[in-house]
């Protein structure tokens, strides 16, 4: 029997060795960094996570790109600056002579149109597709026409009318090209792209560096789903085989992912690593000090930090560990010069429910702006940020982080004033907090500490009763979307370097307006800013609009502007901490 047992164990061990031998390791890359959650997607049309941006913008290149320190737009695949018409509505981009795909072919204006068209398609379901609708002439109409057709095809199909659906499908497919020709993104010739905007957009050159505006190599068309010879699915969606982002994917003659950036994706092992190698066809690629870059996936940032301390990792662009306040202290006192604090363009705030008459059957006192102001004045943000969170964030009194967007100075905001807060509460009919229902504060587990401190402050200063509801992330998102709260935590990371990326969130009907705030005066100010003659008057109008939301109506209560810790080994140079956590690897150097 013992022999049989030994035999079994040996067999099992051999099986283990066999399975394990199927993986092999390449030599260490020139630069190694950690991405804790792996890449969610590399499809530029769908990318919305900052860690995905980091990979995408190193392997692709848009018309512009961001400066590695200031993050201002600089030259990308097109000559900079482009030709801009006097009314600031037409941009003519000329592609560089040496803009090349990793396959060696030249990048054309048509490649950009292809990428943009994919990104605005409803089937791509991209988070940033709204940027086309908002800014490019004809895009909103085209997308609405597509939405309607998709809705009609789905309902015809469901209603059991396949013949009608097919007829409508053909009719729609025939019209597709003519309709798209109305959109203001046109390849004038191989190297010239003309973009017509629906209105002036002072930050357009900043926008076009975003992944959603990246070009797409023609080979992707090989992987497009077709129905009855048309480039659409039966429901009218534009859909590509999602495997197209893999470097080793071969089907129907597809050559694998081709990109136009400084690097190309060479290998991507799910939840393990991705390896980038310099794109030999990129301009001056031979001058890159880091020829290979490895992205390691450590689900657990604690282990990632240990790997960094042990020297296996050169760079940690993310460092949210339970002891990050200690890291912040070490960095602030100069004891760890390799840990940097990046003040980023992001704000943590509380939403007040401005619309619902009742929440869980209780009358909602926050429809009254005086109550919202009172709760804003009753909070000591200094203590929250410096004592409770204590990880080096900046106290926020405005929605837009100050001193980060050039030419814009946000309003001063409200200071902590419990006396005035109590006065406002009694003016609103709740003297000493009497008559107020229990205040439901909705948050996720990661905010629990913060929300407990907030609750205690309000209880002490305003005499109200607070009921914390801590929910799991997805349930929280659903409850927030359905406005089942009086107060709910919110956070917003800027999409681009302009105050409107924050302020638009509170416009009437905006999909991210969780508080439900609606004020014609505010909407009107935003509209007037769009039409402002010059940058200074535009900034002044936007600051007036912001003053409405942080000083008068208070639909939100800004608490802090995030500061993100990152770690760069002392021997790595050329990676600069910045407000967008954007790290172009081509500038990195290793000097051991």
């Amino acid at each position: 029997m013992i022999h049989k047992l030994v035999l079994t164990c040996v067999t099992l061990f051999l099986v283990v060795l066999f399975i394990n031998s199927m993986t092999f390791q390449e030599p260490r890359a020139d630069l190694t960094y950690v991405n804790p959650s792996d890449i969610h997607t590399l499809d530029p049309a769908r990318i919305s996570w900052v860690q995905d941006f980091r990979v995408a913008l190193n392997i692709w290149e848009g018309l512009t790109t961001w400066h590695p320190r200031s993050t201002e737009p600089i030259e990308g695949a097109a000559l900079f600056p482009p030709e801009i018409s006097p009314d600031a509505r037409t941009y003519r981009f000329t592609l560089r002579d040496d803009a090349r795909w990793s396959s060696g072919e030249p990048v054309t204006a048509q490649d950009f149109v292809r990428g943009w068209r994919r990104a605005m398609e409803p089937g791509s379901a991209g988070d940033y597709a709204f940027l086309f609708n908002d800014h490019i002439v004809g895009a909103a109409e085209y997308v609405r026409w597509r939405h309607d057709a998709i809705g009609r095809l789905t309902s015809l199909d469901r209603g059991g009318r396949p013949a009608e659906a097919e007829a409508f499908f053909d009719e729609h497919a025939v019209e597709l090209e003519a309709r798209f020709a109305q959109v203001g993104a046109r390849a004038v010739n191989e190297r010239t792209l003309e973009v017509t905007l629906s209105g002036p957009c002072p930050y357009f050159l900043d926008l076009v560096a975003l992944p959603v505006f990246l070009p797409c190599h023609p080979s992707i068309e090989l992987l497009r789903e077709r129905h009855r010879g048309r480039p659409l699915t039966p429901a009218g969606l534009v859909v590509y085989d999602p495997q197209w982002t893999k470097p080793d994917y071969r089907r129907l003659g597809y050559p694998g992912l081709i990109t136009n950036g400084p690097y190309q994706l060479r290998d991507w092992k799910f939840k393990r690593r991705a390896r980038l190698a310099a794109n030999p066809h990129y301009r001056r690629a031979d001058t890159f000090a880091c020829r290979t870059v490895e992205m390691l996936v450590y689900d657990n940032l604690n282990a990632a930090l240990m790997a960094y301390e042990a020297g296996y990792v050169d760079f940690l662009p993310e460092l949210s560990v339970p002891y990050d306040h200690e890291l912040a202290r070490l960095s602030a006192t100069g004891l760890r010069r390799d840990i940097h604090q990046c003040p980023v363009l992001a704000t943590y705030f509380l939403n007040f429910n401005c619309v619902s008459e009742t929440v869980n059957g209780r009358p909602n006192p926050f429809v009254d702006p005086r109550v919202r102001r009172a709760f804003s004045l009753g909070l000591d943000r200094e203590t929250l940020v410096k004592r409770v969170r204590a990880r080096g964030d900046r106290v926020a009194r405005s929605f837009v982080p100050p001193e980060t967007i050039s030419g814009y100075a946000p309003p001063a905001g409200l200071l902590c004033d419990p006396g005035e807060a109590r006065r406002l509460l009694s003016e609103a009919g709740f003297p000493g907090g009497r008559g107020l229902p229990n205040i439901i504060v909705l948050s996720t587990q990661s905010d629990e500490r913060m929300c407990q401190a907030v609750a205690r402050m309000w209880e002490n200063e305003l005499g109200v009763k607070v009921e914390l509801q801590t929910k799991e992330t997805k349930t929280f998102a659903e409850d927030k979307a359905r406005r089942r709260f009086f107060v709910a935590r919110g956070n917003w990371y800027a999409d681009y370097n302009d105050p409107t990326t924050f302020l638009d969130c509170l416009a009437t009907g905006n999909g991210n307006n969780d508080s439900g705030y609606s004020n014609p005066e505010y909407d009107d100010l935003l509209r007037r800013a769009e039409e402002a003659a010059d940058a200074a008057s535009r900034a002044a109008v936007l600051a007036r609009a912001e003053a409405l939301i942080v000083e008068r109506d208070c639909p939100i209560l800004p608490i802090l502007h995030y500061t993100e810790p990152i770690a760069i080994q002392p021997y790595v140079t050329g990676l600069s901490p910045n407000a967008r956590l954007w790290f172009p690897f081509r500038y990195a150097r290793i000097e051991r």
Partner: protein, 306 residues
């Protein structure tokens, strides 16, 4: 024998079907939309068209479609990681979990059995005390503690092994040993107890009286009987080690299946939840069956127990 085997297989399929149905009901009843992977809202037409595309517009159709795909081993797309299919995710992570689980069990047997035998043979000596002490520690310390301690000592201070990750043989020892410890402790205790039982029995006394050397008495005669409870423990233990290594995966950054099991649920990734549940439940059923077969092979008297 064949009849018994068929019956067990059939029971296994019924079990898996039950687990699938239960999971499905939970998946459709929790709040959250699997197609929406960020907090931004999706236009309703698009949501409807995408739901229709993945056949999620009708729960019962989705129930059937997913099952039909699963039978052909096609688990469909993953939603959170949109560039991968569930099959690819399983193919990347299942071998990792299998390797860690199997190696951990091998280590557990290799350490636990000799420790248990020594404890029994040198009963009440300092050696027995040491074994019992270590066993107590092994069972009571959670893996995230032992894992972190091992990681700090061997990877950060001594720099003998890499800090987490996956890909080379050097990545194996720490997670495997961490996962093995509680099993090793349990096996040591089991072996010690059953060995003590056996050592007191008549046939052992006879063997000693015959003048057989102690090594042979223990190694050949006593072990044969004392080992059987350990074998019956190994079935569920192996399946559990291979499927339940979430904590160890997390501590060491090992890309196994356990993390998807948890993250898919948090992300409401319906396809990935259902496929990991199906794979895990199938593994459990199959491993229990395999161990019972192994048991019968090791001890032919046990065929009846199948």
């Amino acid at each position: 024998m064949t009849g018994r085997l068929l019956r067990r297989l059939l029971l296994g399929i019924v079990t898996i079907a039950g687990v699938y149905t239960l999971t499905f009901v939970m998946v459709i009843s929790v709040p959250g939309n699997p197609l929406q992977q960020s907090e931004r809202n999706m236009p309703p037409e698009v949501e409807q068209a995408l739901k229709a595309r993945y056949r999620m517009d009708n729960n019962w159709i989705y129930f059937g479609q997913f099952l039909k795909g699963a039978v052909r081993l096609d688990f469909g797309p993953a939603f959170t990681y949109a560039d991968w299919t569930c099959n690819q995710i399983l193919m990347h992570s299942l071998p990792v979990s299998l390797v860690i689980g199997l190696l951990a069990i091998l280590i557990a047997v290799g350490v636990g059995v000799p420790a248990g035998v020594l404890g029994a043979v040198y009963r009440n000596s300092w050696l027995d005390g040491a074994v019992l002490g270590v066993v107590l520690l092994g069972i009571s310390l959670p893996t995230f503690v032992t894992g972190s301690v091992l990681l700090t000592v061997f990877a950060v201070y001594l720099r003998l092994l890499p800090v987490g990750g996956w890909g080379t043989l050097a990545h194996l020892p720490l997670p495997c040993v961490t996962l093995a410890l509680p099993y090793a402790a349990y096996i040591a205790r089991l072996t010690r107890m059953s060995m003590l039982d056996v050592l007191g029995s008549d046939f052992i006394r006879t063997a000693v009286a015959k003048g057989l050397p102690r090594r042979v008495v223990i190694g050949r005669h006593a072990m044969k009987v004392a080992f059987l409870p350990v074998v019956s423990f190994l079935g569920p233990a192996t399946a559990q080690a291979m499927t339940g290594s979430f904590v160890v995966e997390k501590v060491f950054g090992v890309p196994g299946l356990g993390q998807h099991f948890v993250n898919a649920a948090l992300n409401r990734d319906a396809g990935l939840i259902l496929s990991t549940v199906l794979v895990f439940s199938s593994l459990l059923v199959v491993f229990n069956l395999v161990v019972d077969l192994l048991y019968a092979w090791l001890d032919p008297r046990m065929v009846d127990a199948l």
